[in-house]
Amino acid sequence: MSDITNKRVKMDELDPNERNKTFEEVATGYSEEQAISEAKRCLNCKTKPCINGCPVSVRIPEFINCVSKGDFRKAYEIITSTNSFPAICGRVCPQENQCESRCVRGKKGEPIAIGRLERFVADWHRKNEEYKTTKIEPCKNKIAVVGSGPSGLACANELAKNGYDVTIYEALHKAGGVLSYGIPGFRLPKSVVEYEITNLINLGVKIENNVVLGKTISIDELLELGYSYIYLSTGAGLPRFMGIQGEKLLGVYSANEFLTRINLMNAQLDNYDTPIIKPKNVAVIGGGNVAMDAARCAKRLMAENVYVLYRRSKNEMPARLEEIFHAEEEGIEFKFLVNPIRILGDEDGKVKSIECVRMKLSEPDESGRKKPIEQEGSNFFIDVDCVIMAIGTLPNPVIIDSISDVKKDKRGYILVDQNQKTSNDFVYAGGDAVTGAATVILAMAAGKNAAKYIIKNDKK
């Protein structure tokens, strides 16, 4: 019998004024009782619309049913039969646009907290079960995966489970891609990412760090090394800047740089050598999840004022509602309908303020979003000593140059067919290198899909 309350079970969170000083995870997770009681809200409806909302088609009602009965082990098995990284997805998937947006319970009241339950099950497993992964002796062909972000990890996992001998090549010194350098620990603890990567290694996947495709090794050389297929999951590339005056002043960062210094290089910890400016007043430009991450990291570096400047209004923000809400709670100040036009510096070249104009929204443009227009004469200044640009990325030129025989679109994103295959029969690709900046789960889905077709092709 399902519980008829319209409200989902709240997940405990650290106090906003405490947590904005540490990198501890904000949401502390469900207890067993909380999980069971939330799971009982599921109607286990016949149509199961939630599954269609999931890029990797997790059998959601089935696992939730197990949770409601307290059979967390079985729930974990069900989830991981289609999604290998539930501890990650349960935390960073935009469930409100995916599975939860389809939930029947959402029509009247709040949808089932599918993401929180998924996270609960994964965390329960990590805490309570022995390392289950055992090495599968590879009996099939060698396959190279380039890039160890979510897409590469998902592809490698699927291939290894099917007996392939997989090596992941990673440019950085640490595996995980955006999970390691981009998403901060207060949203996705590093221990969760490390656990999943350790599991993958236990499964038999090899990871070679410090190898840059196109520089250290080429596609042809990989094929010469005996890899029968290559999966390219090299991620998004160059950070975008606005092209306004003052972008090279000291204190102007791309979000990629700012987040990498903190998340990958631990600049916030005294025992690491990574330098970072400890700003007092910060302007973050952009309205996506990366902007939220950067703003919340800046706050945690003890900045007094952190402003998010977004040229549209709150309704148009691409960031997850939950992230915006958490940022607001932590004292981030949002300035909507504001566009920077110039960054000003002092005589040493350090940022001292940012000049902005106010915007208003006109009719929706091709993208369906209302186009912001400058209001003449509305210029104003904000005193800041740090500016972080979080306005997206462009394809990586190293990759573009290094795979000249693989077809790309005009902008430089890799072209693939429905099976993730590129114009080269032995090269598959997926994730942000194909789609441009997207979500962790879409990247994982692409990796899994590629693995499926590589296996199918290999059997021919």
Partner: protein, 282 residues
């Protein structure tokens, strides 16, 4: 982990190291760089490749002990390992069509100018090298450079080698004496490269400079190595490190490399302090 197969102190501030890195040695071309990280808590720093041996599978770097990372690196010896060593990064130097080349190196920059000279000289081009150092004790790679050029001029700021002056003085003399060059390659401190570019622009000599700004990943992901070239933003790690020197905004880069000067000074103080502690403990 990357094995140090040879370590040689060149003078009181500069050291040469040969690192076992066969994949990099196989691919590296003149002008490219590597990024290394000494230990788990360390920074990633870019260093331009000074030489490589494909058969041995080794890459040579020359560094100056000026920051904490290079000091930590200098604690390592032959037989030790460097934690991370990645490359070859950036684009190789393009010298297409150049027949008469003057290569200008400043200080440890000579170590980077050396492979350029070697490559061009072996390809049968006419190569002059002008190398500048603060004083005669800091002169490095003199014998090596001699072997890969037609004329080697070594200048010292204080004249202690009997040849007082800046590299620009020497270059100016050469030009005055009727030497013509169709390409200049300048590698060294920003102020030196800037001065060289001002001179070569006057004389209409195409000039390549090698920029070495602050970097993290070196693969175009973080964007901190951005420099202004011809009014456009370029990323030194993927668009460079070589750029047309007449178009580079040196003043801007000179400011940018000071971004973490204070932090770096404090780190060096702490590092030296710890070293002293270590000594007194013994």
């Amino acid at each position: 982990m990357f094995l140090i197969v040879e370590k040689k102190r060149l003078n009181e501030v500069s050291t040469k190291m040969k690192i076992k890195a066969p994949m990099i040695a196989k691919k590296a071309k003149a002008g490219q760089f590597i990024i290394l990280r000494v230990n788990e808590y360390g920074e990633r720093i870019p260093l331009t490749i000074s030489d490589c041996d494909k058969d041995e599978g080794t890459v040579t770097i020359v560094y100056q002990r000026i920051g904490k990372t290079t000091m930590l690196l200098d604690e390592l010896n032959k037989g030790d390992y460097i934690l991370d060593f990645v490359g070859p990064l950036g684009k190789p130097t393009l010298t297409d069509g150049a027949e008469k080349v003057v290569i200008i190196g400043g200080g440890v920059g000579c170590a980077i100018a050396f492979p350029q000279a070697k490559q061009l000289y072996r390809a049968g081009k006419k190569v002059d090298i002008i190398a500048g150092f603060r004083n005669k004790d800091l002169i490095i790679l003199e014998d090596e450079m001699k072997k890969v050029c037609d004329n080697l001029f070594i200048m010292t700021d204080d004249g202690s080698n009997g040849n007082k002056g800046f590299v620009t003085n020497c270059l100016e003399n050469q030009i005055k004496n009727g030497y013509t060059y169709d390409l200049a390659i300048a590698i060294g401190p920003l102020a030196m490269m800037k001065a060289v570019c001002e001179l070569t622009k006057e004389h209409n000599i195409k000039t390549i400079v090698s920029m070495n700004p602050i970097m993290i990943d070196g693969t175009g992901m973080c964007g901190c190595c951005r420099v202004t070239v011809n009014g456009e933003t370029k990323f030194a790690c993927v668009d460079g490190p070589d750029f047309d020197g007449h178009k580079v905004d040196f003043d801007e880069t000179m400011k940018r490399i000071k971004m973490y000067e204070e932090v770096e000074r404090k780190k060096i103080r702490d590092y030296n302090c710890n070293l002293m502690k270590g000594v007194s403990d013994v």
